[in-house]
Each structure stands twice: as C-alpha cells, then as structure tokens.
Symmetry: C2
Subunit: 421 residues, 2 copies
C-alpha cells in the first residue's frame, strides 16, 4: 500500500507557529465582534448539492468539491448511468449555508440576528501563491434589519476589529469604501444605457483601478455601446476630483432612476460610522466600487490598505437571497474579512514567530534519573503550570543541542537539564 | 430550483448558545494543554483516498465520505468504467492525518513533538441520539518519545484539563484506567491460547463491563476454545479483588511472555501521574481494559465518570503507525477526549445557557430617531465596548416584547429604549 506524505493538492499543513498566530488573531476577532453583539454560529462543512448549485454562488459553483453518494444510492446512480454521483458538496462560502441556517432556525433566533461565522471553505481553484483550495473565511451578517443601522454596525465592528489587529504590526491607516448598487444602476440609466446592459457596463467599471477611465471607454465601445452614451456615462465619473460626497455625486441623476433616500442613506452611514471608527481610518463614498457577486441589492463596501493591491474586507446588502430559502424576503447585510490575506500581511510584518507563551520552561530528563527525583520534578511542574507557566517535560536526547534549538525556535527560553544519577 | 432548509443528514446547525458553550470549553482545553507544552497544529479536512484506506482506520474505513475527482480525471474515471471516482476523502479521525503530517514536516518540528489537534471528523455512520456524521475530536499526541514520560505527560495533562472543565458543573471525581497491550497478550499466552487467537479472545474480554466473567466464559467456549484454557485464563482475572497493582496481577505470568520492564513501567506511570493529578481523581491499573483499535502496541488508557456508561477519553501507545508514512519507526503515544460526550454531560448539568457576556446592553432605536441622537448613542456605545461591555444597537421592532424576550434568552440583561422624536 502506497502512503502519500504531502497534503492534498492546494491545501496546507499548519505548523505550530502558524497556528499560534492564527489562534491569536481569531481570538481577537471573536472578542471584538462579541462586543458588538455578534453571535457565533456554525454550520456543517457539507451542504446539499441542490443548495450549492442554486445559482447563488456565481462562478464558485464551478469549483465545488462534490461528495459521493454512498451505498444503495450510489449503486442506483451508477446503474442509471446519469453520472449524478454526488448528493452533497463542500461549501464554497459561508453565505449560502447562512441562508439555509436562518431558514431552518429563525424561530429560535433574535430578530434582527447578528451572526458571526468563522470556518473553512473549499474551492477547486487552480492553486497559486496565496490562493488555497481550503481556506478560512470570517463573516458577520445582520439578518432581519432593513434600516441602515445594520450597515453602520457592520462597518464600525469590522473597522474596530481591524484597527486592533493591525495596530500590533504598526499599521493604523486604512480606507473604507462605500457605494450602493442602486446608484451604480441609476448612473448607467441616466447616461442612456438599457436596463439589460447594466451588468456588462458594471463589469467594465469594476476595472477602474486597473485600466482607468480611458480603458473603460475603450472596453465599452469595443463591447458595442454607443459612443455618445459611453461619453455621457464617463463624464459622471470624470467630474470626480478627490473626495466627493454621495449627495454631490448624485445631484444630476434624475429622481426617476434614483430614490433620494438611497443617497441620504449612504451619507448617513458614513457620518454615523465616523462616530465609532478609529481616527486613523478613512471612510469614503467610492462611486467606482462595484463588487463582483450578483446577489447584492443595495449598499456595498470594501476595505483597502495602502501598499497592498487587494481589498482585505468586503460586503454589502443582499435582501433577496435569504428569502429563496425562507419563502419570504428577509433583509440581510454582511461584511466578510479576507482572513488569509490578513494573516499574509501580518506574517510579512512580524519579525519573529509567535512564541509558545511569555513564561515557559523545558525540563530535559536523562533516561536513568530515579523515580524519586522525577516525582519531585512532576510536583514542581504541577505548581508552575497552575500559575500559568508553560512547562514541557521531555527525555533528554543524545543530540541535546539540536533538541534545545528546535524548542527555542518555538519560543522556549528557559531550560533545565536533569542528568542521570 | 428546490432549496433544502435542513442540514445534511446526521449533521448539526450550532445555535449561538451551543457555540458559546463549545467555544468556552475549547478555550479551556487549549489553555490547559498549552501549559503542558502541547502545540496546536491543523491538517486539511481532506486526505488522499490512498491514505484513508490504508488499513490504519479499522471499521472507520467503511464510513468514509469520498470526494469526487474533477475535470479530466473524472471523465477518464467514468470512461474507464472502474468506478474509481474519488481521489480524496474526508478524514474519519485525526490520527491518520497526524501520521502523514509528521512524515511531511518532521524536520521543522521539535523532537519529541507534542501535538494538539482540535478538528472535525466525518463518518457516514447511522445517525442516532448523540452520534453525528460530523463531530469534533480533540487529540494530544507525543511523537518521538519512547520513554514513559510520554504516558505520564499525556495522562496528567488530560486529567488536569478534565478536572478544570468538570469542576464548573460540580463533577470532581473520575477514574483513569491503565493497562498495556503486552500484558493482555501475555495473560492469554500464559493461559494457553495461541498467538493467533489473541485478537478474538480480547474482543470477548473487552465486553467485561457488559457481560462479566460468566458471559466471557460462555462466549469463549462458544467460539470453540478449550474449556481448560478458558478456565485458566479467567482464573487470572477472577483473582481480582478491588484494586490490584500491575505487579501483583502479573506475578504469575512467565518472563518468556512478559518483559518485567512493562510491568514496572505501568506502575511507574501510575505513581508519577499521581504526583500531578487532582486529589479527587482516581488512577488505577485495569487488567480488563482492551480498547478497540488494532494499532496500539503498548500502554492503553481510558477515563470514565461514575454514572455515565461511556468513557470520556481514551488513548495509548502506537509505535508502529507513523513509521508507515515516515519510512522509519517513530514512537507515538496519544490521548483523545470525547469532546461531544463532554459537551453532552455539561449541557445535562448546566441550569442555564452560557450568556453573551457578564456586562451587556441592548439599545433599541425607533425608526425616526434623529441623526444627532443616534450619533450620541454611537459615541457612547464605542466607549462602553472599549471597556468590555457587549453592546448591540438594533432598530426597535413593532413586537418589542418578543424582541426583548429573544435577547434575554441569549443572556442580555440591560435594555435601553430610544423612542422616536
């Protein structure tokens, strides 16, 4: 029988130092979100294949790890010859499971319900640097709140948590970008695009950071849109000079395309969030923010750090998704942090590995030390551990130098050598 | 498209109160084991199907959730018609992944290596009360230590951790049972059984708690063993009157069957562990302890609590397993706690759900409260959260009575109602 030493392709073994950093950060996340009243929940890693392929997951549905039917179900599937061999799949995000969870448990939960989910997700993506097939996601969501208190709490909680984490490595400044899908839609309609064109127009606008307005113009014209409409559309965005309020940006968009409540809502979220976020954090209306997922219906947000060309958190309002599981619409708004990206930034900035603990002691015992001396050591270790010192008791190895070096690499500082009698 | 509200068969949605209890206990486990120098590691939930079906997992190998091949690999498998549709599977325990992990990473790890693993495992078992298809396991293992310091540290750490957890619900007394596979083997040989019969004889002895010596006698004779041998075998166990030391139990077993070092080792483990465990905890040599898994090679142990007919922790030495992955033998000894069983006992004993936090406040805001009043509330909430109070800010619902009741059920005690201007 052949044994394979490496992990499954695209997945990682976590070393002790990795785990200490991850656990430390996860604990900060849990404590910080708990202070805002978010309640941690958990769903099974496996979901019914029907739910995972219900068109809520966009392109992620192409990346599902499918779990095979078993026993008689599998035999029947093979005999039928239709290749429907899977009844379950591993979740590719935490949003589809949340929708199912809320539909299944809402009678037992407060309304609104503030959920915190931390868990692994799986995508059969092409593995590349920093992108894995198993990775941790960390989402907060507020279900059943149709007011913008939901957005304010989500933005404040996430910003507060990130300020705490990044302050450990001296990063204090980051930017929260806010926009609204209804504003994106209205600006396109105002310029003269058809309702049906909006999806494709937003795919081009989403490339603003990479290709700029000139690149977007070129792409839109290549896609067959009238030059006149494209010019009118981009003129709305050209007028942007540095910071612009949502009210200013939308002032020329006709009421028939955009309810003024949406505009006031975005400006309110920004001023209320400012009352809670750290003074170093910038919060800004960003009319070019699009975000990929099709399920957003209103506000969208993203957080970026200077010097990194990726966002570290993103989210928005998605009022139409939970209803597909519940049978009745449930307002929903969520914010997801890029946990693996945050860990990458921290590892980048940290100069040493996270040590086992502040106070520690490694006792190395020779193989022929008497029972009485060992008993004395065990009693002392018991007392030290009870008062918070990490104590490891191990046989002294022939190569003690290497033994001690490896322990030092994990953060052990104190060593006691008990030689044979 | 049909959506399914319930979780996958045999798996659970965790409610907030469940999660608070689980997280609280997991934190105690992590802190307690860290004090003994155990280092947390993590492996992917998926393993190569070759590793999972390598005969290390016993009956669990029949319960694997298999993950399907993808893309061209799947097409080839279907065309070949051999039904080898899976390349991976979900792990059914944490021991096989640990063996692979150690083989893959041992150059980067201290020797001996003290590992803590906490993670879910999956078994396609028939779901029944208290038995799930996804459940959490929590294992500590010491790899690369062939002395009985490994057993002593494992037993002391697990006992210490359980004392801390159970003291929260007033349970202080439990019993640690210790035996050695080599003693089980020697007793059978001494009585006159063949080497080949030992596996089957131990399956009968393992039922001691359920059927007693009379039941074992009946079963062994039904299985075709000579009455004379069976009588001699059971006479070794009949002589047990209450507590017996390992030395006493083994005194009539011939040296050719049993190395005296094994006997002294068990008695040493017991006296050394006594120096570290809580005074309420009993530790005893238990000659009828067998434990099911085939991979144990030496010491075995189990922990039981009075009044519950299941063990809450079990483990032992398995010196031959890691070598199958590493290519050279690595001594190994582990202790696994029944995390789900412990949670069941705690839920049974706890009178109230674990509350959100000690200090908390729910602020319910009317829909037409002015921006200025809201800003004042947000600033106050920021200060309260910074000093450790859980504050949730929510829209006041029409049915405020129910809203408050649901929050009270989660442990909220303070409420502030901000009515419309």
């Amino acid at each position: 029988m052949k044994f394979i030493k490496t992990p499954v392709k695209g997945m990682c073994d976590m070393l002790p130092a990795d785990m200490r950093l991850r656990e430390h950060i996860l604990q900060m996340i849990k404590t910080s979100y708990a202070a805002y009243g978010f309640m941690q929940i958990e769903t099974p890693v496996m979901e019914h294949i029907e739910n995972l392929t219900s068109k809520q997951g966009g392109d992620n549905e192409k990346l599902i790890f499918k779990v095979m039917k078993r026993g008689a179900d599998l035999t029947r599937a093979i005999e039928a010859g239709k290749q429907e061999f899977a009844d379950n799949g591993l979740r590719y995000d935490l949003t589809v499971p949340l929708a199912r969870y809320y539909a299944n448990n809402k009678e037992k939960l407060p309304t609104p319900f503030k959920a915190l989910q931390i868990g692994n997700v799986w995508r059969a993506d092409n593995p590349q640097k920093g992108r894995f097939r198993q990775f941790t996601q960390c989402d907060i969501d507020i279900l059943g709140d149709d007011t913008n208190l939901a957005e304010i709490e989500l933005v404040a909680a996430t910003s507060d948590m990130l300020s705490q984490i990044f302050s450990e490595v001296g990063i204090t400044d980051f930017t929260i970008h806010i926009n609204d899908r209804q504003i994106l839609r209205a600006a396109a309609l105002q310029a003269g695009f058809d309702e049906e064109a909006i999806g494709s127009v937003l795919i081009s606008l989403d490339k603003y950071d990479k290709i700029g307005l000139d690149g977007i113009r070129k792409e839109l014209i290549e896609n067959g849109y009238a030059e006149e409409v494209v010019t009118r559309y981009l003129s709305i965005y050209e007028s942007l000079q540095g910071d612009v309020t949502c009210g200013d940006f939308c002032k020329d968009i006709a009421e028939e395309y955009l309810d003024r409540k949406v505009v006031d809502g975005v400006d309110d979220i920004i001023s209320c969030a400012k009352a809670m976020i750290n003074e170093h954090v910038k919060i800004t209306f960003d009319p070019t923010l699009v975000r990929g997922m099709g399920y957003y219906t209103g506000t969208i947000f993203e957080i970026s750090i200077d010097g990194y060309n990726f966002s570290i958190a993103g989210g928005g309002r998605y009022d139409k998704m939970i209803g597909k599981f519940c049978g009745q619409d449930v307002s929903a708004c969520g914010f997801s942090i890029g946990f693996e990206r945050i860990i990458t930034i921290l590892k980048d900035k940290l100069e040493t590995v996270t040590p086992v603990s502040e106070k520690n002691l490694a006792i190395l015992i020779g193989k022929n030390v008497s029972l009485d001396r060992k008993l004395e050591i065990f009693k002392r270790a018991k007392a030290l551990r009870a008062e918070g010192t990490t104590v490891t008791i191990q046989p002294m190895r022939k190569n003690m130098k290497q033994q001690i070096e490896k322990l030092e690499a994990e953060g052990f500082k104190e060593f006691e050598k008990v030689y044979n009698d």
